[in-house]
Amino acid sequence: MARHLFDGTGTLMRFVLRRDRLRLPIWLLSFAAISAIIALAFVGLYQNAEERQAMAETMRNPAMTAMVGPGYGLDNYTVGAMTAHEMLLMTAVVVGLMSILLVTRHTRTDEEDGRIEMIRSLPVGRLSNLLSILLVLIGANIVLALLTAFSLTVLGIESMDFEGSLVYGSALGASGMIFAGVAAVCAQLSPNSRNTLGLSIAVLLFAYMIRAIGDVTNEALSWISPLNWILRSEAYVNNYWWPILMTVAGALLLMVLALYLNSIRDLGSGFLPSRPGKGKASKSLLSPFGLALRLQRTGLIAWGAGILLIGASYGSVLGDLESFFEDIDLMQQMIAQSAGFSLTEQFIPVLMAVMAILGTIPVLMAILKLKTEEKNGRLEHILSRAVSRNRLMGSYLAMAIVTGFIMLSLAALGLGLVGNAMMEEQLPLGMFYSAGLAYLPAMLAMIGVAMLLIGWAPNAASTVWLYLAFSFFVIYLGGLFQFPEWVAKLTPYGYVSEIPIEEMDFLNAGILIVVAAVLMMIGVIGFNRRDIGR
């Protein structure tokens, strides 16, 4: 009997691989390539042990701990230790994201579009679809581990031996597996694919934040987060395997739980039953903007709470930062020395930049929702009524701008209020707020890019995420890698004034706004000229 639950799994696995025959190799190869490139970059940037040791001192600072995880091997900061310590966490988060996206795509998205129903009507086991995608992801993450280990070993860097590389790669793979498990469970709990994605990413961000707070304040807290577990593998220094095994075990448990939940759930529903709603629409729903707002309300609240939390946790770090800087005043990277500002103040723009880029995620989601609506065949309803395309796109634009404004405000308030509570020397709240809102023009430019794509190349619209990832990479790591100035200028975030250490540069902000407006206008023109389809 039970055997029949899994009939056809092999065939479905091949089918998953067939559908992702490009997507999957691209993901896996990029991880291997980026890991290798970064290790090489570290070799080039830090010529000798002294330079690396200086970096190690910087890494002792609590803000860095919050960002990349607790330091280890800092006394002998080899290139291997440096790569693992500074890159593992961020890469693991992105690997987790990959797993989440892939699992959601093959579970709830397929289910929502009715494809699973077709498959289930064939002589295929009830759990075969979920099992096949989970097996594919386990396999993919093993391949990821081996590829990364291989690509790091062949670099021939002295401190990067095969065992260390294998630990590093496996830590990434384990993180991929556990978040595949998380997404699989979320897919059973949520009523649709959008919520699955939202819930899984929320878990991922929560895992990151709780670890950040825990690492700085109370280590016990960090153990809730699987991201903390993999960091404990301490690749290239101690090469512990147990944290990796523990993570893989956790992943398998989650997967079994997901299969169980899947077996007791009805197709097309989650565990929360659908309650009856209003028979009549409230006034606020009755416009394209009202609809856009209503569709994204829950997401907006969730992201707002998340950003506020992130701001608050960075704020709580500011206090520690203050006392830390009192002991050591050696900051060479990340923060350029500039006279007249406390080091805490110099840190604020760095934190704001990270939060602004994170806050751009819901902003882009808001504008790209237009594309999702089109794909789901729902724009047809709107456009066949007395609504112009300008008004339609304008509503989503307004929604995106409002979202951006809210995100920046919450980030700045969280950082400022909690920061001031933690620090002995208070900073004006208005300064925090302007440091945050200074990023609004950059967000507008990102919206402009998204609109340009929606108007002219709707099928490529999601490439704007790549641009955001690139921006994050450049802004976040630019300081570490001492990238030349012009690299940062390739993203709109590179033109934002770093308040409070810089004056607000209204010219730059104005230029960003003009560029954004032009991009938006071109996007609207394209949207007005093309077919609305799937």
């Binding site: 009856p276 028979g279 047809e380 456009l383 066949s384």
Partner: protein
Amino acid sequence: MTVLRTIGLTKKFGDFAALNGVNIEVGEGEVYGFIGPNGSGKSTTLRILLGILKATEGRAEIFGKDSWKDAVEIHKRVAYVPGDVNLWPNLTGGEVIDLFIKLRGGGNLDRRQELIRKFDLDPTKKCRTYSKGNRQKVALIAALSSDVDLYILDEPTSGLDPLMERVFQEYVIEAKKQGKSILLSSHILSEVEKLCDKVAIIREGRIIETGTLKELRHLTGTILLVETREPIPALEGFKGVSGIQQKGQALSFQVDAGEVDQVIRYVSQFGVIRIESSPPTLEELFMRHYEGTGQAVESGAGGES
């Protein structure tokens, strides 16, 4: 007066021509049926008429205005029900109906209530939980509660049960009485036959037949059912005779309009016991167009993914 017309409408998706010079014309107060096999271009035509797709060549006009450029103006007086109705899973049916009515620029609230009652829809349920027929009802109720001059309906009764189908037909007849125009694509030929004044048959993006049902029938000829004492020899080869079928003792076949006289003369030689004639049903007309040319089967390819 012409309410809607297309002139040489052509639509290409890449290299594939979904429409190839389509001409249709709907007059005021007319119910116009639009039929054709799957993938023949019905929905594409309707979408162009609504300014959702842009024609590659040709013109599409409603109320004398260009359906692409003046879309918003036109839509104030048009109600549309799309081919597949996808709704927002987390809004209720009632909310969606209100939104649709409002976006057109208002409608009649009493009528909304009446339609919800007649179509037997629970407006407090989330769209996620609606069956296909219920989603269809949401779109229909929203369309029928607006006071417009033209209805464009893409397979409006797909998914409706026979009772609901009848409710829908009543509303169409009522709208027609009020002098409104309706363009209706459908696969249910008995429905088209019952409701429509004029019919266009489209195939592979070309209109292959259009006119009133009477004209189409006249073109096609008559169905004869004949029972004779002696068997009728060589009927297969007889000019103007097609679709011969044995029906019990009798033979049924179709006779082209101009050949009826000749055929009856020939048949009468064999001792007629019974003879019945009937106009062809739309279904017979339709089948003739697709079977007669012998390549009906391959034309159904395609469909969006």
